[in-house]
Symmetry: C2
Subunit: 343 residues, 2 copies
Amino acid sequence: MKRVTIKDIAKIAGVSYATVSRALSDSPEISKETRERIKEICAREGYRPNTLARSLISNRTNVLGLIVPDISNAFYSEVAFSIETYARKRGYNVMLCNSLYDTQQVDDLFNFLLGHQVDGIILCNSRDRTRDSVAKYFQTVPTVLFGDCNLDPVPSGCSAVCLDNGLGGYTGMRYLLGLGHTDVCYLGYRANSSTHEHRLAGARRAAAEAGAALHVIENPTDFSTTESGYALAQSFFSAPYSSTAIFAATDSLALGVLQAADEAGVRIPEDLSLLGFDNCFYGDLPKIKLSTVDQCKQKLAEAAVDLLLQLIDRPAEEPAEFSRRIIRPALVERATCIPHRTE
Amino acid sequence: MKRVTIKDIAKIAGVSYATVSRALSDSPEISKETRERIKEICAREGYRPNTLARSLISNRTNVLGLIVPDISNAFYSEVAFSIETYARKRGYNVMLCNSLYDTQQVDDLFNFLLGHQVDGIILCNSRDRTRDSVAKYFQTVPTVLFGDCNLDPVPSGCSAVCLDNGLGGYTGMRYLLGLGHTDVCYLGYRANSSTHEHRLAGARRAAAEAGAALHVIENPTDFSTTESGYALAQSFFSAPYSSTAIFAATDSLALGVLQAADEAGVRIPEDLSLLGFDNCFYGDLPKIKLSTVDQCKQKLAEAAVDLLLQLIDRPAEEPAEFSRRIIRPALVERATCIPHRTE
DNA sequence: CTGTTAGCGCCTTCAA
DNA sequence: TTGAAGGCGCTAACAG
């Protein structure tokens, strides 16, 4: 398991190790023959430069820290895929961390990642409290917030990327309106979440413009899970209702609605249209075919990496320039929304 | 962005930096007062040891490389979650890499990870060709193969973890048999995959024992996707068939079957039972509720980490002891399998 | 063109 | 109990 170092190569080649170093970095100040010869020896001996030693000098590791609440969650795994793939294309590796939705854990992770000298950190969908708790690190390490940038006040000391949630809510609602639904139920609004805030505001604006009714069912829990969607929908179905469509605040909530509707004997979309938000892959599964608002995860991911590298690559003594990038949502029509028939 | 080092602390405290080092490592050979004082200064100045420098000396980075084909695939994202969480609990970080099912990419990744001096690598579900191509690294870095250990011949130079796929096939088939299905279609068998080989063999054995019929529909493509499941099922439904149940080689294939059945107007489970294999989270979604064979991903993941750390932590000069761990599958009953009614 | 030297941040002898 | 010195693998001046 002993790894071969630059010294071993130097000894074999009968040159100083500085020469080896030069040969490997394709320095111009070295004869072509020695370079070729040394490279050959390296290949033969299976030499591989020790990135750590190099990083110690350059102060760059080419690794990015990625903190997601839970990588097994479809949304984050799709985001992580795009981030990793794109970062690698740009020469960076990704250190993956699950925060388990825990503020203390996020703080620990920042410390850990800092100890590992990561060049930057992408923090996904933090709660307000979490964000406040790690703000102290922003001056130490370039950071980009993923998913929270229609925040007020705008977080300082870091860049941020997110969907235009307001536009998303507006677009979704407009779509329903266009289908003839004039009484819609917005299900799963979570107070204390600026993301939800914006989505709902957008939907409200569209409803107001059209003079349509928008009933809101709030999610009292802290998480937009299928279970909470199910519970919310159950109580919705248990009482008489006038809405002809449900706009769920997230896809996972919509899944719960699907389940509850099934059990209550209401057919989707024949009896009730259903629109989600996120466009997670499972929305495209057979028998689900959920119409939804697309977060365009790949765009978000690449923008996050771009902003981070922009922060990292800026000339050493220039003051950091933080920016935010807002991504436009898109509508994905599948099978759960149909025109409202007025008989 | 300048980070505070041990020297800065030494200067502030007015001691040599060896003393600071000792204080931080809780060395006994130092007075309690100096230690307290130094620790206080470190906390105040926001000092964080540079793991890189430490690793350069210790030859240990406490990071593990994880190579999955595609983290956005539900199966791998669930596995990655368990691996990362468990590894962290045991003091290790995870560097995530997507191989995109590409042999060359896997080779590059090994090189990359080796350069970063990872302490070990977990390689998920490699194809035969890929495995051969990276076998050369096994003597350089502790490696565990995830998902391929009922291989023949057993790969040498590394440890391995996988499900007892033979038992899984057997268990699933026995379940169907127990439900009264005596004519089953095994859909999606992929030649050249030892995993599929074993699953099918297990199912065959159970069928033979019971004297039941087992028709095999082979998947000619290289991937078990929903699309290929859909295509396979379509052709199945387009001809008359005698089977009363389908045993899909993977959950994703089963999803395609669901879709095709829907379109062909065959009701599941009333007209045809359907059993999957993997237990991906989407199998539990409303309207899907797929009965399936559970791979017990968490057990697999933790076993993989255990075996890897066992390899890493072994006393320096002891010869490596490779092992393999076979996990028992479990049956998950949901809604897609019902007893066969003989009228 | 090539070798020598110092040093990145830290730990670990060896002395004092 | 504390300080001085060497070295982990590599790069970057500075000589030659």
